[in-house]
C-alpha cells in the first residue's frame, strides 16, 4: 500500500487506539505513542525522499472521481516540518503536560492527521475537510487547560476561524457549481472559461477565509489571545504548523487553480505584498508593547507570517524559495523559543518578561539557546533566519518591490527592539529567590535539537534548500502540476 496514504491514516488510527488504551493502561498508551511516532518518522522520510518528481496516489481505484493525493516538493517540505516539530513536541509534552495529558496527545495526533491531509490532498473538498479536522482539534487544544482564560480565547478562536471557514466553504461550493469538479487539476482547466470577475470574487473569498487562519493583520486578533492561554507545546505546533498549513493551502490554490498569470493580471500579488508589509510592521509595533512572553511570541509569529506572505506573493522563483524556506525556519526558530519558554514555565511558572529576570545565570545553556533562536528570528547572521530573509529581500528587489524589501529591513530592526529587551532581562541579575523544579533531559533534548538546527541551517543552508529549490517548478508552472495530477 502506498506510504503517502499512511501518513494521514497512521496518526488518525493511533489517535483512535490511544483513546481506547487510555482506559486500560498507561504503559500501553505510552508505548503506542512511541512506536507510532517512530514508524511515522520512517514513513515521512520515505515519502519526502520520494517527492521529486511528484507522485500521485489515487485511492480506491476510482480514477479521477476518487480522492487523489499528490506529493510534490512543497508538500514534502511540510512533511519535513511535521517530522521535525511533531516528534520534538510529543517528546517534550510527555513530560511537560500535567493536566489532561492523554487528551492532549490524542488531539495532537488528530491535528497532525488533518495537517498531513491538507498538504497531501489534491482535492478541493478534502482540503476543506482536513482543514476543519485540524482546526477543530486546535480549538480543543487551546481550551485544554480549562481555565477561564483558555476557554474564552478558544471561543474567540472558534468564532473567528469559523467565520473564515464559512468563506472557504462558500468559495469551494461556488467553484464546484461553476466547474462541476473538485479535482484541482480539472478545476484549473475548467477555470479558463470562467469570467474574470467571478473568478476574482472566488479568489478573494479564499484569501479572506485563509487570511483569518493565517492571521494577517487585522484578522489576527484571536491569535495572541489564544497563545496566551494554551499549553506551550501546542503553541509550537500552532505557529509552526497550523498557521503554516493554512498558508500552504492558500498558495497551493492560488498558484495551481488560478495560475500565476491570473494572479498577476488581477493584481492580487501587489495586494499580497502590501498586506504582508502592513502585517509585520503593525505586529512588530504591537509585540514591543507586550509584557507576556506568549503574546510577544504570538505577535512575532504574525510578523514572520508577513515576511512569508511577501515571499510567496512575489510570484517569482526566488520569492517562492525564500518564502518556503522561511516557513521551515520560522517553525524551527519559534519552536525553539517556545520550548525554552516552556521549560521556564515548567520550572518557575515564568511567562511574563518580569519573571524571567536573571534566568540567564540559572540556565546558562538554555538561555544561550534562547538567544540564538531570538537572533535567528530577528534575522541576524549567521543563523538560518538571515538566509531566508536574504532570499526574500533579493526576490523582492528582483520583482521590483523595493519598498517591501526596504521595510523588511525596518522590520528586522523593530523585531530587534523587543527581542533584545527580553534577552537583556534574561541577563539582568536579581536577588529574588525562586523555586525551581529541575527540568530533566526529556525537556531539554528536544529544545537543544531545534536550537542546533537554527545554527546548522544557517551555516549549511544547502541541506534544506536542495529540497526547497524544486518547489517553484510545480507552482509557477501549473500546467506541469496538472499534467502529473491527471496522470499524463
Amino acid at each position: 500500500m502506498e506510504s503517502a496514504v499512511w501518513i494521514i491514516l497512521l496518526p488518525l488510527l493511533t489517535a483512535f487506539f490511544l483513546g481506547i488504551f487510555k482506559l486500560y493502561s498507561d504503559k500501553l498508551f505510552y508505548s503506542l505513542v512511541i512506536v507510532s511516532m517512530v514508524i511515522y518518522l520512517y514513513l515521512l522520510i520515505l515519502v519526502i525522499n520520494d517527492s521529486y518528481p511528484p507522485k500521485v496516489y489515487s485511492i480506491g481505484n476510482w480514477g479521477l472521481l476518487g480522492i487523489n493525493l499528490m506529493v510534490d516538493s512543497f508538500s514534502a517540505m511540510f512533511l519535513l516540518i511535521i517530522a521535525i516539530l511533531f516528534i520534538t513536541v510529543i517528546i517534550f509534552s510527555l513530560n511537560y503536560i500535567k493536566v489532561n495529558k492523554h487528551k492532549f496527545i490524542i488531539l495532537t495526533y488528530v491535528m497532525i492527521a488533518g495537517i498531513a491531509g491538507m498538504v497531501l490532498t489534491a482535492d478541493l473538498f478534502n482540503l476543506y475537510v482536513f482543514l476543519e479536522v485540524s482546526s477543530m482539534s486546535s480549538y480543543a487544544l487551546t481550551a485544554i487547560k480549562k481555565t477561564d482564560k483558555s476557554i474564552e480565547s478558544s471561543f474567540k478562536y472558534l468564532i473567528m476561524s469559523t467565520f473564515g471557514s464559512f468563506f472557504i466553504l462558500l468559495a469551494t461550493i461556488l467553484t464546484y457549481y461553476l466547474t462541476g469538479t473538485l479535482n484541482m487539476a480539472e478545476i484549473s482547466l475548467e477555470f479558463k472559461s470562467v469570467p474574470f470577475m467571478i473568478k476574482s470574487t472566488i479568489m478573494f473569498f479564499f484569501i479572506f477565509g485563509y487570511g483569518i487562519k493565517i492571521g494577517l493583520v487585522p484578522l489576527h486578533a484571536w491569535m495572541p489571545d489564544s497563545y496566551e492561554a494554551s499549553p506551550i507545546p501546542y503553541n509550537v505546533l500552532s505557529s509552526g504548523l497550523v498557521m503554516k498549513s493554512a498558508i500552504y493551502a492558500l498558495i497551493r490554490l492560488l498558484y495551481v487553480i488560478f495560475g500565476v498569470e491570473f494572479l498577476t493580471e488581477s493584481g492580487i500579488l501587489n495586494i499580497g505584498v502590501f498586506w504582508g508589509v502592513l502585517t509585520f510592521i503593525i505586529a512588530h509595533t504591537l509585540a514591543y508593547q507586550q509584557s507576556n512572553l506568549n503574546r510577544l511570541l504570538g505577535y512575532s509569529s504574525i510578523a514572520q507570517i508577513g515576511y512569508i506572505t511577501i515571499g510567496l506573493f512575489l510570484g517569482n522563483e526566488k520569492g517562492l524559495i525564500g518564502g518556503s524556506f522561511h516557513i521551515l525556519n520560522h517553525g524551527i526558530m519559534k519552536g525553539t523559543l517556545f520550548l525554552v519558554l516552556g521549560i521556564f514555565y515548567y520550572s518557575l511558572k515564568a511567562d511574563e518578561i518580569e519573571d524571567i529576570q536573571g534566568l540567564g545565570y540559572k540556565f546558562p545553556v538554555l538561555s544561550f539557546t534562547f538567544v540564538v533562536a531570538a537572533l535567528a528570528i530577528v534575522g541576524l547572521p549567521p543563523f538560518n533566519g538571515f538566509i531566508s530573509k536574504w532570499l526574500i529581500i533579493e526576490a523582492a528587489i528582483e520583482a521590483g518591490f523595493f519598498y517591501a524589501a526596504f521595510f523588511i529591513l525596518v522590520g528586522t530592526f523593530l523585531s530587534l527592539t523587543y527581542y533584545l529587551k527580553v534577552i537583556i532581562k534574561l541577563y539582568t541579575k536579581t536577588e529574588k529567590k525562586t523555586l525551581i523544579e529541575k527540568p530533566d533531559l526529556s525537556l531539554k533534548l528536544p529544545t537543544f535539537f531545534l536550537g542546533s538546527l537554527c545554527i546548522l541551517f544557517g551555516i549549511v543552508p544547502s541541506l534544506p534548500l536542495s529540497l526547497i529549490n524544486n518547489i517553484p517548478k510545480f507552482l509557477l508552472n501549473n500546467s506541469e502540476y496538472i499534467r502529473i495530477l491527471l496522470g499524463g
Binding site: P381, L416, T417, L420, Y427
Partner: protein
C-alpha cells in the same frame, strides 16, 4: 590555510576547554601570538574562494592595506587580551575573541556578503560583551546594539542596492547604495550626529572592555570606508567638521574616558580626510595614522584603566595618581601624549605629516593644523591634571603585572615607530617618499603643539574648570519615544472583545471586495 580571524574565532570555542587559569593563559597566548605570526607572513595577492548559495564568495584576500591593518589588529589584540586576561571572566574573554576574530575577518574579506556577516557578528559580540559584563550597562548595551543594528542594516541595504545594480558582490564594484554605505560607516566610526553611542558606552563599561572596543569598532569603520567610499572628496570636509566637533566636546569633559572618546572622533577625522582625498599618499597616511592612533589611544585607555583599577574613580582629578606612584604608567602617558600631539620623533608626527603633505586645498590644511592644535590642547588638560596638580589620592591596589605588560609592550612599539618612521614603510613595502626629519616639516609639525602650550597657559582658568554637565538632546531617543507611544495607542485598540475582532474582519472583507471593482 588558517586565517587570523578564523584562528580567533576558533579560540573563542577553545576557551570552553579552559577549566583553570593556566589553560586560559596558554590558549590565549597561543591564539594571539599565532594570529600575529600568521598575519606577518601573509603574502599580498593571496585569495581564497568558496561557493555559498549561488554566489562565489571570497572570505579571504590579502593586499598591502589589509595586511597592514591586520598586523596592527593582531598586535593590539595581543596587548589587549593580556591587559584584560586577569580581570575578565571566561565567557567575556570568549566574546572578546569572537569580536576580534570577526573584525579581522572583515579586514581580510573580499566580498560584501562576508563583510556584512562579520560586520554583524562584530556588532552582536560587542553588544553582548557590553550587556553581560556589568549590571550598570544594560541600557547602554541596548542603545549600542540598536544603533549598531541600524548601521548594519543600512550596510545590508546598500549591499542589496549595489547587488541589484551591478549583479556582483565584489568590493571593487560599488556603484549604487552609496548613501547607505555612508550611514553604516558613519555609525561605526562615530561620525558627528551618529556618534551618540560612543561616549556613553566607552565611559560606562568596565575599563578593559573600553580598551578592546576602542581598538576595533571605529577602526573597522575606517577600513571599510577605505574599501567602499574612498576618494569622495566632499567627505574630507565632513571629516574636518566632525573632528572639530570632537575637540569642542572633548574640552568640556570631566571624565577621562569621555574625553578620550571624543578624542577618537577627532583622530578618526584625520583618517576620513586622508581616505577622502583618495590619492595613494592620503590613503597611506590614513592607514599609518590608524596604526599610530590605535597604539597611543589604546595606551591612553589602558592608562585610564590603571587609574580606575587603582583608585576606583575616573574623573580628571583622579589622574593625579600618576606621577611617582605609577612610574611605568606615567612614562607611557607621556609618550602617548607626545605622540597624539604630533611632536616630532614620536609616532603621531609621521602619519600627520603624510596626510598634511598629501593635501592640496588650503582650507583642509588649515583645518588640519587646527585639529592638531585642538588635540594637543585637550591632552594638555589631561597632562595638567596628571602631573601638575597637587593631589593626595592613594593607591587602593597595585596594577597587575599583565596590565603593565600590555601597556609597556605598546609603548615600546610606539617609541620604535617614532624614532624610525621608515619601519612601517619597510614592513609593508609601501613607499611614501617623505623625509620625516626635514627641518621645515618638523617645524610645521611642532607649531600647533607650541601654540597650544601658549594658549593653554594663557587661558588656563577657562580650560581647567568643572563644566556643568548638560543633558544632550538625543533625537534617536525622541524617535524611540514616538514609536513606543504609537505602539501603546495601537495596543489599546486590542481589548479582547470578540465583537471588535469581527468588526475588523468584516471591514477587511469589505475593503477586499471593493478592490474588485
Amino acid at each position: 590555510m588558517i586565517t587570523p580571524g578564523f584562528l580567533y574565532l576558533a579560540g573563542a570555542l577553545f576557551l570552553f576547554l579552559a577549566i583553570n587559569n593556566k589553560i586560559k593563559y596558554i590558549i590565549s597566548f597561543l591564539i594571539t601570538t599565532g594570529a600575529l605570526i600568521i598575519t606577518f607572513y601573509l603574502t599580498p595577492g593571496y585569495s581564497l574562494e568558496i561557493n555559498f548559495l549561488n554566489y562565489t564568495l571570497i572570505p579571504f584576500r590579502v593586499d598591502d592595506i589589509s595586511k597592514l591593518t591586520g598586523l596592527i589588529f593582531t598586535l593590539s589584540g595581543l596587548a589587549a587580551v593580556f591587559y584584560s586576561i586577569n580581570i575578565s571572566s571566561r565567557s567575556n574573554l570568549q566574546l572578546i575573541f569572537l569580536f576580534i576574530g570577526s573584525s579581522l575577518t572583515v579586514v581580510f574579506t573580499g566580498d560584501l556578503f562576508i563583510l556584512y556577516i562579520f560586520w554583524e557578528l562584530m556588532e552582536i559580540s560587542s553588544s553582548f560583551l557590553i550587556i553581560t559584563v556589568s549590571d550598570l550597562t544594560k541600557k547602554t548595551g541596548y542603545y549600542f546594539f540598536l544603533m549598531q543594528a541600524v548601521g548594519g542594516l543600512s550596510l545590508l541595504w546598500g549591499v542589496f542596492l549595489n547587488h541589484s545594480a551591478t549583479g556582483s558582490l565584489s568590493l571593487n564594484a560599488i556603484e549604487a547604495g552609496i548613501p547607505f554605505f555612508m550611514i553604516a560607516v558613519g555609525i561605526k566610526l562615530a561620525f558627528i550626529g551618529l556618534h551618540t553611542w560612543m561616549p556613553q558606552t566607552y565611559s560606562k563599561v568596565p575599563f578593559y572592555v573600553t580598551v578592546v572596543l576602542s581598538i576595533y569598532t571605529t577602526k573597522v569603520g575606517v577600513y571599510v570606508m577605505y574599501r567602499l567610499l574612498s576618494g569622495i572628496n566632499i567627505l574630507a570636509y565632513a571629516g574636518l567638521i566632525s573632528a572639530l566637533f570632537g575637540i569642542v566636546m572633548a574640552l568640556r569633559q570631566n571624565q577621562v574616558r569621555k574625553l578620550l572618546s571624543y578624542s577618537i572622533i577627532t583622530q578618526v577625522g584625520y583618517m576620513i580626510i586622508g581616505i577622502s582625498i583618495g590619492s595613494a599618499a592620503g590613503i597611506t597616511g590614513a592607514f599609518f595614522h590608524l596604526i599610530n592612533h590605535i597604539l597611543y589611544k589604546t595606551v591612553l585607555f589602558m592608562v585610564a584603566g590603571v587609574v580606575i583599577y587603582t583608585t576606583g574613580k575616573e574623573n580628571l582629578e583622579d589622574l593625579g595618581i600618576l606621577g611617582s606612584k605609577l612610574p611605568i604608567t606615567s612614562l607611557a602617558t607621556l609618550v602617548a601624549f607626545m605622540a597624539i600631539s604630533g611632536v616630532p620623533f614620536f609616532n603621531g608626527y609621521m602619519s600627520k605629516t603624510i596626510i598634511k603633505e598629501a593635501l592640496q586645498e588650503p582650507v583642509l590644511i588649515w583645518g588640519l593644523n587646527l585639529m592638531s592644535f585642538g588635540t594637543s590642547l585637550m591632552f594638555l588638560k589631561f597632562i595638567y591634571y596628571a602631573f601638575f596638580q597637587n593631589s593626595n589620592i592613594n593607591l587602593n591596589r597595585k596594577p597587575t603585572i599583565s596590565m603593565q605588560l600590555g601597556l609597556g609592550f605598546l609603548t615600546i612599539i610606539m617609541l620604535l615607530i617614532g624614532i624610525n618612521p621608515f619601519l612601517l614603510e619597510n614592513l609593508t613595502n609601501i613607499d611614501v617618499d617623505i623625509n620625516y626629519f626635514d627641518i621645515k616639516l618638523m617645524l610645521s609639525g611642532i607649531q600647533p603643539f607650541l601654540w597650544s602650550v601658549i594658549v593653554f597657559i594663557l587661558l588656563k582658568k577657562y580650560l581647567v574648570k568643572e563644566y556643568r554637565r548638560f543633558i544632550y538632546y538625543d533625537i534617536y531617543r525622541e524617535m524611540a519615544k514616538i514609536f513606543v507611544k504609537i505602539g501603546y495607542k495601537l495596543s489599546i485598540y486590542h481589548n479582547g472583545k470578540l465583537s471588535k475582532y469581527l468588526l475588523w474582519a468584516t471591514t477587511t472583507l469589505i475593503i477586499l471586495l471593493s478592490l474588485l471593482i
